[in-house]
């Protein structure tokens, strides 16, 4: 089984954010980067499949040279190969990214191509299904369960109060939701091995960018809340406030 996982490098969302002087990006001072959360799950899914049935995991990451660190993290988890699709910046437009990924993946002979359900930075969730369309492959998004047998797959998708089980042929593109597999921590052996692996670097063949960031702002601060009181005796006052002030009862 040959599996490609498309991963993204994103700022660690636990950090305090500030908007940069250009008014449309994050202030880079002190930012730390890591693999996007759902993409980590996708790497884990790929590793488990190849550990069980044999095969190889390749990770593909688009962006400036900083993304090599993210590729090495996937190496240290157990990915065999890594490709950097080099671009000075990562476009916001998912279709521009999908274009570059499809160009890289088209003749790769992959049985499965995995993505995270959505990235932790742009949060669009569009690149996976767009890439699938460009490759002419079947696609199942946001899966929370996966089984493969005899060249076919079965996946579960959560649908807001309901869920479905779907069947699909391989090769296919899948986007991974939480709940399938928590990513493993890199092993020491993996970290050592990761240092020796080489990353293939190729220029990203980006598609046209039609969705661009005009400006970015921090969300409005919520008005400072208040502690109504301590213990159960504060409950009547809380209910009064919910009724007369917040008007939600």
């Amino acid at each position: 089984m040959k599996i490609a996982v498309c991963i993204k490098r994103v700022p660690d969302t636990e950090m305090r954010f500030a908007i940069a002087g250009d008014g449309k990006s994050l202030d880079q001072a002190g930012l730390k980067y890591d693999i996007s959360d759902f993409d980590g799950y996708a790497v884990e899914v790929a590793l488990r499949l190849t550990e069980k049935d044999g095969g190889e995991v390749a990770v593909i990451c688009l962006g400036p040279d900083g993304v090599q660190e993210t590729i090495r993290k996937a190496f240290s988890m157990g990915a065999a190969r890594g490709v950097q699709l080099k671009a000075d910046t990562v476009p916001f437009d998912g279709s521009a990214i999908a274009h570059a990924l499809a160009a890289e993946l088209r003749d790769g002979g992959y049985d499965l191509i995995l993505f995270g359900r959505q990235s932790a930075d742009a949060g669009n969730g569009t690149v996976g299904p767009m890439t699938a369309h460009l490759l002419g492959l079947p696609c199942v998004t946001a899966i929370s369960h996966l089984e493969l047998a005899d060249g076919r797959g079965t996946a579960h998708r959560e649908l807001e109060g309901s869920a479905e089980s779907v069947e699909f042929p391989i090769p296919a593109v899948l986007t991974i939701d939480e709940g399938i597999a928590r990513p493993r921590l890199p092993s020491l052996k993996g970290i050592m091995a990761a240092k020796k692996k080489t990353i293939d670097v190729r220029p990203a063949q980006l598609g046209e960018e039609r969705l661009t960031v005009q400006s970015m702002a921090l969300p409005p601060e919520r008005a400072a809340g208040r502690i109504v009181g301590e213990g159960p005796d504060a409950v009547p006052e809380l209910v009064r406030l919910l009724k007369t002030e917040a008007k939600v009862l």
Partner: protein, 330 residues
């Protein structure tokens, strides 16, 4: 003058509330452009179009296009994408709107790719402005808001559930039927079965009130307290943190946050929840937030409008009682 096409989502033959939100947004966009038409595309088993026509009209649809077939009883991504793309391609639409629901987030990017256009995903506000669609979209798990500019026609956007309030704009819509552009029987991805999920109470995305419990509840059976409080509100759904779903106290589908559901109810009651950034990412836009926690320094109190410090095992039963009283007019 801009005509807007919307995909009006149904489930089990009925409109979902997000469908009316999307129609409302389309009506506003069409009116603001000088009075275009809103066309609503509905997929389902035979009879679906007639069943939802009035409701779509009341919210501003001028035309309901019903694509009906026994094979469309369940969502079929490939058939819906081909049909929606075909309609957008041939109908001369300025824009196409979807709900950013589980279904819409699956469908919209496929349609965009089929048309060779881009998509503004999961937007919380949108406006047609000259040759662009300008939208607001939360980024970095809600820690910043981006204003984005989308060019190209049709301009496609998916709208975050709850971001637009469904409003009436009475119309008497025409009803038209159309065949699917691709036969669901030939789709490569097939729904094998629908899986039961809980007892299908109110969905988290649609409930006006959410009572969410965290690790402070200490054990699965103690969620009874949370459920009783939700029942007292009458219109509440139960949510949970990842600490809780990880331990199997509640199903994974109850998880709210960065890697769970994004919700924005009118009232969010956080019980025994510390307020980790990943949890806040899923509920910070809620109307009013109440927190009950015994640690006065818990980060949830920074976000909460109202807080009570103390033992939830004493406070929640009392709150349940008081809410019951308040709702029965006492």
């Amino acid at each position: 003058m801009a005509n807007v096409l919307v995909v009006a989502e149904t489930r089990g033959g009925e409109l979902r509330s997000v469908a009316l939100e999307v129609v409302t947004a389309a009506r506003k966009a069409a009116d603001a452009s000088g009075g275009g038409e809103v066309h609503a595309l509905v997929f389902g088993a035979p009879g679906t179009g007639a069943a939802v026509q009035d409701s779509l009209g009341r919210h501003g649809a001028d035309l309901v296009v019903a694509v009906e077939s026994a094979g469309l009883e369940h969502y079929d991504a490939e058939s819906l994408a081909a049909t929606t793309a075909e309609r957008l391609r041939s109908g001369g639409y300025r824009a196409g709107f979807f709900a950013a629901s589980a279904q819409g987030r699956d469908l919209a990017p496929r349609v965009a790719a089929a048309l060779g256009v881009s998509l503004a995903s999961d937007v919380t506000a949108l406006e047609l402005s000259g040759d662009a669609l300008v939208v607001q979209h939360p980024v970095y798990v809600g820690k910043a808001i981006a204003t984005l500019r989308l060019t190209g026609t049709p301009a496609l956007a998916s709208i975050r559930p709850g971001a637009v309030t469904a409003a009436e704009a009475a119309r008497t819509p025409r009803l038209e039927t159309a065949p699917p552009a691709s036969d669901p029987a030939s789709s490569r991805v097939r729904v094998r079965e629908m899986l039961a999920r809980g007892d299908a109470k109110l969905d988290l995305g649609e409930a006006p009130v959410i009572v969410a419990g965290g690790r402070g509840l200490r054990a699965a059976e103690n969620f009874r307290l949370v459920e009783e409080l939700a029942a007292a509100f009458g219109n509440a759904a139960v949510g949970a943190t990842r600490a809780v779903t990880d331990d199997g106290w509640r199903p994974a589908t109850d998880q709210i946050g960065q890697t769970g559901r994004m919700v924005n109810p009118n009232l969010y009651v956080a019980v025994g929840i510390s307020g980790a950034i990943q949890h806040l990412a899923g509920m910070r836009t809620s109307g009013t937030i109440v927190a009950i926690n015994r640690d006065k320094d818990a980060p949830i109190f920074k976000l909460a409008d109202y807080g009570i410090v103390g033992d939830l095992f004493e406070i929640v039963p009392r709150l349940t009682e008081e809410i019951r009283k308040a709702r029965s007019g006492g």
